[in-house]
Structures are given as C-alpha cells and as structure tokens.
Symmetry: C2
Subunit: 103 residues, 2 copies
C-alpha cells in the first residue's frame, strides 16, 4: 500500500456530494441547477455551497443565457475540472487495486 | 449513473485520512500508534482524532498489552469495521465503473 495515494486524493472532489456533482457534469455537457438538484436529491443550500466550492477551485463554470425572456443558468466542467476529475479517478483506481490486492 | 451510490458511501470511512487507516488495518492484523503515524506521516493530533472516530463507530478496536514492563497499545479492525470497509470498497468500485462507462 502506498500511503501517498491517499494524500493525493483531491479534497475538493473527494467530498461525496461534490464527487456526485463532478461525475454528473463529466457525463453531461451542461446541467441546470434544478436538474442537478433533482437528480442528486440535494437541498438548495447544499448544492449552492458545493457548486461555489467547485467554481472557486476553477473546476466548474457557470453560464447564464436568456431564452424567451427567461434566464437559464447552467453548470459545466472546465478543462481544469475535467483533468482534475480524471486524475482523481486514476488515484482512486490505484487505491482500490492496491487495497484489493493486499487482502 | 446511480446517485444513490454516492449517498451510500460511508462518511466515516470516506474521509481520506480514515480511509488510509482502514486500508492499513485491513492489511495488517494489528498496528501500534507509532507504526500508523509513521507510515501515514500524520500528526499525533490528527491520528488520535481519526482513531477516536473509528473506535466510536465500532470499526477499530484498541488493545493494551504489557511486555517487559512496557505497555503497548495496538489497533485492529473489528468485524464490523471489516464489513463496513468491504461494503465501502464495493460501492467505490461501482462508482468507478459507472463513471468510466458513461464517458
């Protein structure tokens, strides 16, 4: 077991609410607040807080558009976010492999 | 992607410091405080706090023995801890599979 792999786990992504958001945004080019909230069954407050953290880290971008006089806010992964998520999944895979092997 | 899998991730184990402790104890029948601290490169305070959380949850047992007039404290996984860790790893594996597949 390599203890460094655990330290390499990105804290911003590792929190399970944010991990779910990142996984959803990795699978969809963009999602609205309502879509994210309903799929993940999160409270508005929780989702807002996680999205802020992800935006602050530069992992998630926010886009505001207007359609038929209604504003629509959507969220998507940035390139930085996509790379960080890929790295996170690779680290997780390593940890799983090593932990499974050692038993 | 199944959002429930993220919710199923055991919060006690998911924290990355505790995840590292659980993985180490899954691979070793017992370890002393010093061994855990040195392998994981954690501060005394951090390790103490994580071990307390794991004991409180019933995942880790503490054993005090005496050897040549010196007391030795060791930590090991309980059956409950081993089962919870196995379940955690299975959930993680599911998440990885689904997240990899969807891209």
């Amino acid at each position: 077991m390599n203890p460094e792999h655990f330290q390499q786990l990105d804290r911003v992504i590792h929190e399970k609410g944010r991990l779910a958001i990142m996984a959803l945004l990795a699978a969809n080019p963009q999602l609205s607040f309502t879509e994210l909230r309903d799929i993940l069954n999160m409270t508005d407050g929780n989702l807002t807080s996680h999205l802020k953290t992800l935006q602050y880290e530069g992992y998630v971008a926010i886009t505001k558009t207007f359609e038929k006089n209604r504003s629509l806010t959507t969220y998507s992964l940035t390139d930085k976010g996509r790379n960080a998520f890929e790295k996170y999944l690779n680290t997780l895979e390593q940890i799983l492999k090593e932990t499974r092997r050692q038993k």
